[in-house]
Symmetry: C2
Subunit: 336 residues, 2 copies
DNA sequence: CTGAAAGCGCTTACAG
DNA sequence: CTGAAAGCGCTTACAG
């Protein structure tokens, strides 16, 4: 037998489908008697409401689309997890898509989410706001950007302050006597990549440190580019005494390269990472990092989507980032 | 204006909705002329098919539910990522849920997935197969278990051989002269936890090593229990000279504790981890691990769901696990 | 409080 | 090849 429908429940309870619907969706206008009959009939039959049918009728799916660059990145995994849990607590489902740092795949995902008629989307955007993203926005679908934004695209967002942490990191290193600080930058097609690099440049200049452009290596937010960045920087005629990376995966790559070269972190090379990822705890000494809060970002993004759906005004949020001092930095030229 | 429907397209193209539907779903019986008119009308209007309506009518959603214990666990993130990408390549969406290692939450997620009428589910199950899981199965919904299984529940699954890797690891350590091998076990309410522990016990006995039950600490697949396990084992009057952990997060915990105690891995304590997680590369020397293939598991699981949907027979798959020798083990009592 | 009826946006036999 | 019509499983004004 097929999954029972509301009709089957109505028949068994001896009431109309309208009454069944009202009882099941907790509409106030129902008598205790029918409530009773319906509930027990539904239980007997093992009735499972069909969300598809309900959505079609209500023109609302109770589903939110989540588009991240890659769940395998711990930072985004944390966001995805929190979004899912928060949504679940409001009886909403989440449709997860990975853009894999590809604009083409991002478009594909957006199309899918639109077809699924998600009520809103939480996205870590990339690219210039053309393609499917533009279409989605013109549809008036509630969208919240998380972590990243797109210039010229007016969408509520929850991001981190990409400046303070970097500035604190540079000042801290300057205080330790470092004059040449290597920087593994994020891709300049992302807002986070751009803002963090700008902050680095500004802080380096303000502190009167070496502004040699060779100290900046542009990576792509993947670990391999962290490795490549570390190699390039350490191969300079006058290599940096400290290295800063613009996200967790690239930090990871830098650390891998240090391990391969047998460099003692904090002594041979000072390293400051980005994102307070649990696995950085494996490094010895513990890594000094620029921390922000992906979990809070995810939770806030869901709140914002819910506000948008409720027609309430929302304002973008910028969370703080800050330097968490641990043991991976030391005086310049320590034991070299 | 609302999102255009098939009616709007029909009106603009000057054909019936039936024809529009046929063209859009690539039904063979359509003339080139109407195809042309429909396609351009759809494009003009920016028509987006409503997956909800289609699903209701077709009684098929083209969506597959994915229930993992926790996406923040790199092992499951990898599975989730592959499942999503593979599904996407077949134009299917994935609904992701995290059970957070809680049977209650697992039930909640299953209910949600049923209501969403996913075509099938890929789940990393836990518990005894009662509750919502039993209901779901009695519904006849295609389900594939991944990584874990449940005793007495007949569901096609793709798992790893939980025995070989462990046996190889124990033999390897025995060959290095270790007599007392500590084991941080997974929760015994999971099939993987049970099978791996059984393999450890068998291998230890076969190699004639110390079978002291105190050498086994039962963790819960979270990093904190790896820390606790390492502490408990190292606090024994006669502590083990090598430690093996039953999953990535607990391995992680063991490594954290080693770092905190300043133990030199491979010299002061031999360590073998489970899962070939990228972040284990941060450890020095590189970690010897028992590796299996989450990505392949995810891809296979999708194939199996598709076969089930197509009414084809499927057989469970057991992938291999094996020891990957790197540098984290050394002779027993090395430099103690 | 309750029921009959219309309709959400599609698909698909059934005729032609 | 094409159209009219029924129907997927719900919800919700509209009467009563």
């Amino acid at each position: 037998m097929q999954t029972p429908t509301i009709r089957d429940v109505a028949a068994r309870a001896g009431v109309s489908v309208a009454t069944v619907s009202r009882v099941l969706s907790e509409h106030p206008s129902t008598s205790a008697a029918s409530r009773q009959k319906v509930l027990s009939a539904a239980a007997d039959l093992g009735f499972r409401p069909n969300a598809q049918a309900r959505s079609l009728r209500r023109t609302r799916t109770n589903t939110i689309g989540v588009l991240v660059s890659d769940v395998r990145n711990p930072f985004f995994a944390e966001i995805a997890h929190t979004v899912e849990q928060t949504a679940l607590s409001h009886e909403m489902a989440t449709l997860l898509c990975n853009a894999d740092e590809s604009t083409e795949q991002q478009d594909h995902c957006l199309d899918l989410l639109v077809s699924q008629r998600v009520d809103g989307m939480i996205v870590t955007p990339q690219g210039d706001g053309s393609g499917s993203l533009r279409e989605v926005l013109s549809l008036g679908l509630p969208v919240v950007f998380v972590d990243r934004t797109i210039d010229g695209v007016e969408v509520p967002s929850v991001t981190s302050d990409n400046r303070t942490g970097i500035v604190e990191a540079v000042q801290h290193l300057a205080g330790l006597g470092h004059r040449r600080i290597g920087y593994v930058a994020g891709p300049q097609v992302t807002s986070t990549g751009r803002e963090r690099l700008a902050a680095y440049r500004e802080a380096v200049a303000d502190a009167g440190l070496d502004t040699d452009p060779g100290l900046v290596f542009e990576g792509d937010f993947r670990s391999a580019s962290g490795v490549a960045g570390a190699r390039a920087l350490l191969a300079l005629p006058d290599p940096p005494t400290a290295v800063l990376a613009a996200d967790s995966l690239m930090t990871f790559g830098v650390l891998l390269e240090c391990r391969d070269r047998g460099l003692r972190i904090g002594a041979d090379l000072s390293v400051i990472g980005y994102d307070d990822i649990e696995s950085f705890g494996l490094v010895s000494p513990p890594l000094t990092v620029i921390a922000h809060d992906p979990s809070r970002m995810g939770a806030l993004a869901v709140d914002m989507i819910r506000d948008l759906l409720a027609g309430e005004p929302v304002t973008s949020a910028v969370l703080t980032s800050s330097l968490v001092l641990r043991g991976s930095t030391g005086p310049a030229g320590g034991t070299r």
